[in-house]
Symmetry: C2
Subunit: 219 residues, 2 copies
Amino acid sequence: MNTREKIILASLDLFNERGERNITTNHIASHLGISPGNLYYHFRNKTDIIYEIFLQYQLLVDHYLQAPEGRPLTVEDQFDYLESVFDGLWSYRFFHRDLEHYLESDERLKADYRKFTQRCIGSVVNIIRGMELSGILRPVSDHLRRSLALNVWLVVTNWMSFLKTAAGEESALIRKDTLKHGIYQVICLEAPYLQPAFYDQVTGLQQNYSPSVLNDLGL
Amino acid sequence: MNTREKIILASLDLFNERGERNITTNHIASHLGISPGNLYYHFRNKTDIIYEIFLQYQLLVDHYLQAPEGRPLTVEDQFDYLESVFDGLWSYRFFHRDLEHYLESDERLKADYRKFTQRCIGSVVNIIRGMELSGILRPVSDHLRRSLALNVWLVVTNWMSFLKTAAGEESALIRKDTLKHGIYQVICLEAPYLQPAFYDQVTGLQQNYSPSVLNDLGL
DNA sequence: ATATTTTTAGAGTATATACTCTAGGTGTCA
DNA sequence: TGACACCTAGAGTATATACTCTAAAAATAT
C-alpha cells in the first residue's frame, strides 16, 4: 500500500476511534511513523483528507444501494440493504458526527454531499416502489413514498448519534451490532404499509434487531 | 442584566450564528466589550458556558412538553407541541450540532442530557397515549408506541441538520419557518395510526407545513 | 552511469486559543 | 469613613495546531 492510501486509512481509523476534532495532522503522521512534511506532500490539508474519505464512503454506499438486476425485490433484499448501509455507517462513523462543519469548510464536499443525499433518498424511494411492485408493501402515493424515504434516511443516518448521546455508562461502547438495532426502527416506519401476506415475515425478521438497548435505557 | 447573563446570551447568539467551533472565549468577550479576565471570572471555562446554556434549553423544552391539565388532548394541542419544540430547537440550534463533542468533554452534561432525552421521549409517549385516549389515534401496543415516539424524537432533533446538509445554495439560509417543515415529516409518522374521524383534520393542518423545500431539492 | 522525478524527513513557524494573574475599581453596609 | 466582598481590565502565557521549507534519499527513466 502506498503512503497516500495509508494516510487515508489511518485518518479514518483515528477519526472513528477518537473523533476528528481530537486528531491533528501531526497525530496522523506520527501514528504512521512518517513526518508531517510527508503527509503534506500527499495532501494539501486536513480538509482534503476528509474529502478523500468521503469519496470512498460515497462509492461504497452507492454500490450498496444498487437495485437488483431485473428481478422483483424480496424481503431479504430489504434486510440486506439495511445491513449493508449500517455497515457503511459504522465504517465511516466519524463522518456524520461533525458533517455540518466539514460542509462549511469545503465547498466541493458541500455540493457533492448534497447530490449524494439526493441519490440515496432516490434509491430508498426506488426500493420502496420495488417492494410495492413485488407485493410486499401496499401501493402508496408518490408524495407519501417520498416522505417515508426521507424519514428512513433521517432515522438511518442519525441512529448512531442517538446511541452515543442517549446511551449511558453500561452500553457506552457502541459496537457494529448495537448500531444495527436501528434496523428495528426503520422497519417500524414501513410496518403500517406492509401487505398482510408479508406482515409476519417482516416483523419476524425485525425481531432479530430488537433493541434491548432501549430497555436498558428505560425507554 | 448582569454580566453573567450577558455572557450566556451572547454565547448562545454567536454559537447559533457562527458555530461553536468557530467562536472562542475571546470572541465572546470582545463581542460584549468586556475583557477575557472578566469572562473567566464568571465562568471557569467554555464548557461551563455550554452547560449553562443546556440548563436553560432543558428548562424550556421540559416546560413545552408538559401535559395539559386534566383534559383530553386535542389535535391543536399536538400542533402546539410541535410548534413549541421546533421553536426551542431553533433558539438553541447550535446545541445539537456538535452534541457528541460536548458530552465527551463534560460528564455532568452527558448524564443530564441522557436523562433529558429519556424525559422527552417519555413525554412523547404520553402525548401519543393521550391522543389514543381522546380518539385521535387508534390504540397501539406499548412497544409500538415507544418505537414511534423514538422515531419522532429522531426526526425532530435531526431535521435541522438535514436541512443544513442537504439544502443547496438557494435555500442555504434556513429560517425558523423553514425549520418547521419538519412538522410535516412528524405527522407522516403518525398518519397511519389516525382514526378515520380525525384523518382529514390532521392531514389538513399538516399541509401548512408542506415541504416545498423538498421540491426545491428535487426530492 | 547519469539525469530527473518522486518521495521523505524533520526542524521550524505563524497563528490561534483557552486560560491566568495582578492590580485596581465599585458598591455596600456598619 | 473604612472594611470588605464583588467585579473588571488587560497584558501575558503555555500549548496546540495546521502547515512550510530545505535538503536529501529513493525510485525511475535514459
